[in-house]
């Protein structure tokens, strides 16, 4: 086996690939061969490093140098300078915005300092398409330990002790779920991996499957051993082609290594995995809907009970866990439940992966211990608000969650504290909003999503969310009334109270939490006909200040709808009825005569 002196880890996640990291990888390889270094330096495509804001990422090992925003043409310099001469390419290092100094090592970057990567432990470290790299980092040791040293009951006990709760949103104790399914009597049981990640902005499951698919395969096999299932199915959205590809490669390799298939480790335990593709419906993240979709039926939920643990896929007992939950399993077995439970808060153990997005400096995928404060996440890891703007709110839990404000920043976030604060963990979407964001529009944004994604089965979700959305639209258009606010609140509560599945039971949360925390903004839209953050176009007016207007006609000539009239060298006027608020006049005026009212 070749002993390489140096490894270049190139991020091969979807985000970095979109910024030509594949070409970068080829250029690096080409340069290495060109320079005759192929026996000393290895280039590896890894999974996501998480710091997507600054991608593509190249990490140089063993010295831990962390290059950001690397372009394909930078390959020559990296090889010539860093690899051959041993000098870091300073301009590609991360620039700490506060100190304005370059940081050479990821360990010293604010983004990584407070992170603890358990579920993402291998993402960015190993080549996801090479099983040997996974094995070299204790891969499949947990499966071996379970099969050869532990009874299913012991494994379940360990899982219970670890305190791991479902990372898909519900937060149901994983060990308990396994226990219940293991006790269902049937000739056939199934392990299902829910990879139907649907929250807007969330991509942790995709990143895990792209960066560390074997951990999910290993965990599914462990789960199968525990509950008595020899078949596993990964339900994955077809929009994740790279994840699917890497998962397939991983499954093939695992089979070749005898880690999937018949008589694993000679213990007589058989386990096979199949893939089912979803069409990308948000509701199919709900386990009964997911199971129906897997069966080829319309993806819509059915009432529980019966729970999938009793009657699930093909009416057989089925254990459904999501990707991130599974990714935690092998390491819990390897390092022990106590180790895992030493992280996190009282009722939420371990870590949680969040997809940090919005008006924040360090957009990306992060993993922190449960109990970390929002302040740490947003201002330490996230690097604060973009362009020095003021923090306004953070939306957690995706369309089912809510908006938390300044006063919530020091909450130690876990499943229960987020719910208590009027939001929820969800699958870990976290969208940061600044002073320029209109909270009514934000509520509407999420309602647009749930209206689109409702399966249509139950009336309150099908029609109610539509009506909520229409009322929000009315308010954004400046046509809302105070009565609408009462109706909005009543309808929100009724939808939560009467909807069939979790989608409808939580879809009004963005409305309620913005009404609770930003009632003034609703009032401003309705009573004053003003959008405080200037986002609602219908409530804006472009006006020409007569004093400043010199009659240059630039605005009138550039107005796409001929809303501006006025003589040359005379004062111009914008006809409000015709104006479409495109802002072209404001942009073209050189005399600061156009302003927004």
């Amino acid at each position: 086996m070749t002993q390489f002196k140096m490894h270049l880890l190139v991020c091969g996640g979807t985000g970095c690939r979109a910024s030509e990291s594949e070409q970068l990888f080829h250029n690096l390889k080409h340069e290495i061969i060109e320079k005759g270094l192929e026996n000393d330096v290895q280039v590896i495509t890894t999974g996501c490093f998480g710091f997507c804001e600054k991608g593509p990422i190249v990490k140089v090992m063993p010295d831990n140098t962390f290059y950001t925003q690397v372009k394909p043409e930078d390959a020559i310099e990296i090889i010539a300078e860093h690899v051959i001469k041993g000098r870091q390419v300073t301009r590609l290092l991360y620039l700490n915005p506060e100190t304005e100094k370059h940081v050479s090592d990821s360990k010293h970057m604010g983004f990584y300092r407070k992170q603890l990567r358990i579920a993402l432990r291998n993402c960015g470290f190993i080549d996801p398409e090479n099983i040997e790299e996974y094995i070299s980092r204790d891969g499949y040791a947990a499966l071996a330990k379970c099969l050869t040293e532990m009874t299913p009951a012991q494994v379940i006990e360990e899982m219970k002790k670890s305190g791991l709760r479902g990372r898909g949103g519900g937060g149901f104790p994983t060990g308990l779920k396994w226990d219940i399914t293991s006790k269902s009597q049937a000739d056939q049981k199934y392990v299902v991996c829910n990879a139907d990640e649907g929250d807007p902005g969330a991509f942790m499951d995709r990143s895990i499957l792209e960066g560390d698919p074997h951990s999910v395969i290993e965990a599914m096999a462990i789960c199968g051993y525990c509950i008595g299932a020899d078949k596993g199915v990964v339900y994955i959205r077809a929009e994740y082609p790279l994840a699917v590809e890497r998962l397939k490669i991983a499954m093939k390799q695992a089979s070749e290594f005898g880690l999937l298939g018949k008589d694993i480790f000679g213990t007589g335990f058989n386990f096979e995995i199949d893939i089912r593709y979803g069409a990308g419906a948000f509701v199919c993240g709900e386990e009964t809907a997911l199971i129906h979709s897997m069966e080829g039926l319309r993806g819509e939920p059915t009432i529980k009970p019966p729970f999938p643990s009793v009657s699930g896929y093909l009416q057989k007992p089925t254990n459904v866990n999501n990707v991130e939950t599974f990714a935690n399993v092998p390491v819990i077995i390897n390092k022990g439940a106590d180790w895992f439970a030493s992280f996190g808060s009282e009722k939420s153990k371990g870590t949680k992966v969040f997809a940090l997005a919005g008006k924040i400096n360090n957009v990306g995928l992060i993993e922190v211990p449960m109990g970390t404060t929002l302040r740490d996440i947003i201002f330490e890891i996230g690097g604060g608000i973009k362009d020095g703007k003021k923090f306004k709110a953070v939306q957690t839990g995706g369309p089912s969650g809510g908006c938390l404000t300044e006063k919530h920043l020091d909450i130690q976030i876990d499943f229960d504290s987020l719910t208590a604060a009027g939001s929820m963990m969800g699958s870990g979407g976290m969208i940061v909003l600044d002073e320029d964001d209109c909270m009514v529009s934000i509520a509407k944004f999420y309602l647009d999503f749930t209206v689109e994604e409702s399966c249509g089965k139950c009336a309150p979700c099908r029609i109610g969310n539509k009506r909520l959305n229409e009322m929000l639209e009315k308010i954004c258009d400046g046509k809302g009334t105070m009565k609408d606010l009462d109706l909005l609140r009543n309808l929100s509560h009724v939808i939560k109270d009467t909807s069939l599945c979790g989608l409808g039971q939580t879809s009004p949360n963005p409305v309620l939490s913005t009404m609770d925390n930003f009632y003034d903004e609703y009032l401003a839209h309705i009573v004053d006909h003003k959008c405080p953050s200037g986002q609602c176009k219908a409530l804006l007016q472009y006006v020409i200040e007569a004093e400043n207007c010199v009659g240059c006609t630039a605005c009138a000539r550039n107005c796409p709808v001929n809303a501006i009239s006025g003589e040359r060298k005379g004062v111009h006027i914008i006809d409000q009825a015709t104006c479409i608020k495109c802002g072209a006049c404001l942009e073209k005026c050189k005399f600061n005569a156009v302003f927004i009212k």
């Binding site: 089965k457 009336a459 009506r467």
Partner: protein
């Protein structure tokens, strides 16, 4: 037994009882909309989608749908506190906000369950107004889909898929635009719809209704150049009374005849006459096949399947075209009647077939399609001009200002109004094969059948099997109603597992008494049981109870047809089937 409390009333119920059923036992009727339970058929639709039946369960975070929530020990339920009432009303308002408010001119007005619910809940305004969903209207030969009125109760989908296994209707689209429709929202006439009408029979609103032919009938009656005659199917006479407030199972044969005469029909005849004729043809065919089979003829196909149900004929043409040589070639009674009327009877009257209008009153919507089939017309003139449902007949009677309840009883006209008890029971599952057995027995054995009641063929079980002793020769008979059950028997035949000599199949649960054109049962299957009972009592009240003893049938053969299965009979009374398994060309 488990102890629960509903609205502060202590109740003991068996485990597995739903809150809805538990509440009923103490006189608490929780309103429902999507829920449908056809008790005697063991058919239940409870998607828990409408959320009208929500109740508060102590300790539960959200409200629970009573129809789909099982009771548990110590459960405490409130069915009408302010939270529940507000939610229920709000949800109903939401449903109404996406529903056309053209109730005054909706064909379902007065029998619409949504309308009744809105009335019961005292909805006087709809707070939540907004966009309404719109879909294209779909008119087929028998059924109209006005999908704007669909409330996604999924009852039709359940009937079409679970009961009938036809699988035309299912939910399509998502969210606000979700609706129940054929795949790709194609029209019904491009689908494998059998027009059984069971979707129409259970639709709570005006989303699924029959094509209305009453205006054509009124126009024909007003045309002095036309002689208009009418035939009434057996199942109509035991259901029509319900439309006039009578108890289910009231026999209104005589009043119905009076009403039809008052409406202006020149002759009021009976499809039962043609049912007797069907027995002559189908029975002869059956005996022929069985006899040849018993004689060891390997080419003969058994079992023989009845062919009087047009929904069933559509079903096997779509789903089992390779087996279309198994059903009897006998036309349905409706079509036999039409064929005889436009030849034999038109000749008797001395008029051209074009000037004779044949109207049929049917419990069925597939009959509307059947009479429009090309093979049942001569030079473009159909044997049966219009098939009108029981419900449409009620409308006709009401439009003609006839007080149905006080009408005197009158007899059918001769010759095509005379029938036997055997024909009457065509209206229920098991009836056709019993009628056939009565005649076939006598012809086969040459003996007189003393006991005409074949009780072993009666009942409501989905699939029934019985062996009838033909004087030492055991004849194995199968009966299925509901197309899903028919499919099972057909699959058995296909797999070579069937041992029956003859099988009767009716598309609708209960047979024609439960047809898609009957007065709506709104989920109360005791109505169907009452109609079935009424048919058997009509049968037992008849003097002649075997089809071959009908003197007018004997005369028809003597004067016109010769003998059963004669060339003329073949031409007029038999048909052939088509392979409809290939999807129809869609020309849109």
């Amino acid at each position: 037994m488990i102890n629960i409390k509903i609205d502060n009333k202590d109740i003991q119920v068996a485990p597995g009882t739903t809150v809805l059923d538990a509440a009923k036992t103490v006189g608490i009727n929780i309103p429902t909309l999507c829920y449908l339970h056809l008790h005697d058929f063991n058919i239940t639709n409870k998607p828990a989608g409408c959320r009208i039946c929500v109740v508060e369960v102590k300790g539960r975070r959200n409200l629970a749908p009573a129809c789909a929530t099982d009771c548990y020990e110590g459960m405490e339920v409130s069915t009408h506190n302010i939270r529940v009432l507000n939610s229920r009303k709000t949800v109903l308002e939401l449903i109404l906000s996406d529903h056309p408010t053209d109730c005054l001119i909706c064909s379902k007005s007065g029998s619409c369950e949504l309308q009744t619910l809105a009335q019961d809940m005292g909805i006087r305004q709809i707070e939540y107004q907004g966009e309404q969903s719109h879909y294209k209207e779909d008119t087929s030969p028998a059924i109209i889909r006005d999908v704007d009125k669909c409330i996604m109760c999924r009852r039709c989908e359940m009937m079409c898929n679970d009961v009938q296994t036809v699988g035309v209707l299912s939910a399509v689209n998502r969210g606000f635009m979700s609706v129940v429709a054929p795949a790709f929202e194609m029209n019904l006439d491009h689908s494998v719809c059998t027009y059984c009408g069971q979707c129409v029979a259970v639709c709570p609103t005006g989303a699924l209704t029959e094509v209305d032919h009453t205006n054509q009938v009124i126009r024909a009656l007003a045309d002095p150049s036309k002689t208009v005659i009418v035939q009434t199917a057996p199942a109509v006479r035991v259901a029509l009374g319900e439309e006039f407030g009578m108890e289910p199972g009231t026999r209104v044969t005589g009043k119905m005849v009076s009403a039809l005469k008052n409406l202006g029909f020149d002759y009021v005849f009976d499809t039962d006459f043609a049912a007797d004729l069907t027995i002559m043809e189908e029975g002869t065919e059956l005996l022929g096949r069985i006899t040849r089979h018993l004689q060891g003829d390997k080419t003969v196909k058994l079992p023989i399947l009845t062919s009087c149900c047009p929904g069933w004929v559509n079903f096997f043409e779509h789903q089992f075209p390779e087996m279309s040589d198994i059903p009897s070639t006998a036309r349905s009674p409706q079509q036999m009647f039409g064929a005889i009327a436009k030849t034999y009877f038109a000749d008797k009257l001395g008029i051209k077939r074009e000037n004779l209008v044949v109207v049929s009153i049917m419990p069925c919507l597939a009959k509307k399609y059947e009479c429009q089939r090309d093979e049942f017309s001569t030079n473009g003139n159909p044997d049966v001009d219009f098939a009108v449902s029981t419900r449409e007949l009620a409308h006709l009677i009401k439009q003609a200002n006839i007080d149905f309840n006080i009408l005197p009883e009158q007899d059918f006209d001769k010759p095509m109004g005379e029938s036997t008890g055997a024909a009457v029971i065509f209206g229920t599952t098991g009836g056709v094969i019993e009628a056939a057995a009565r005649t076939a027995y006598e012809i086969f054995t040459g003996k007189n059948l003393e006991k005409v009641d074949f009780k072993q063929l009666r009942g409501m079980e989905w699939i029934r099997e019985a062996t009838v002793d033909f004087d030492g020769t055991p004849i194995k008979i199968g009966i299925a109603h509901g197309l899903g059950n028919a499919r099972k028997l057909l699959q058995d035949i296909k797999d070579g597992k069937s041992e029956f000599h003859a099988i009767e199949i009716m598309a609708c649960p209960g047979g024609c008494i439960g047809g898609g054109g009957q007065p709506l049962h709104h989920g109360d299957t005791s109505i169907l049981m009452a109609r079935q009972k009424a048919l058997y009592s009509e049968d037992s009240g008849k003097t002649i109870r075997k089809s071959h003893e009908n003197p007018y049938i004997q005369a028809l053969y003597a004067e016109f047809l010769g003998k059963p299965m004669s060339e003329k009979a073949h031409h007029l009374l038999h048909t052939h089937y088509f392979d409809k398994s290939k999807p129809a060309e869609i020309d849109e």
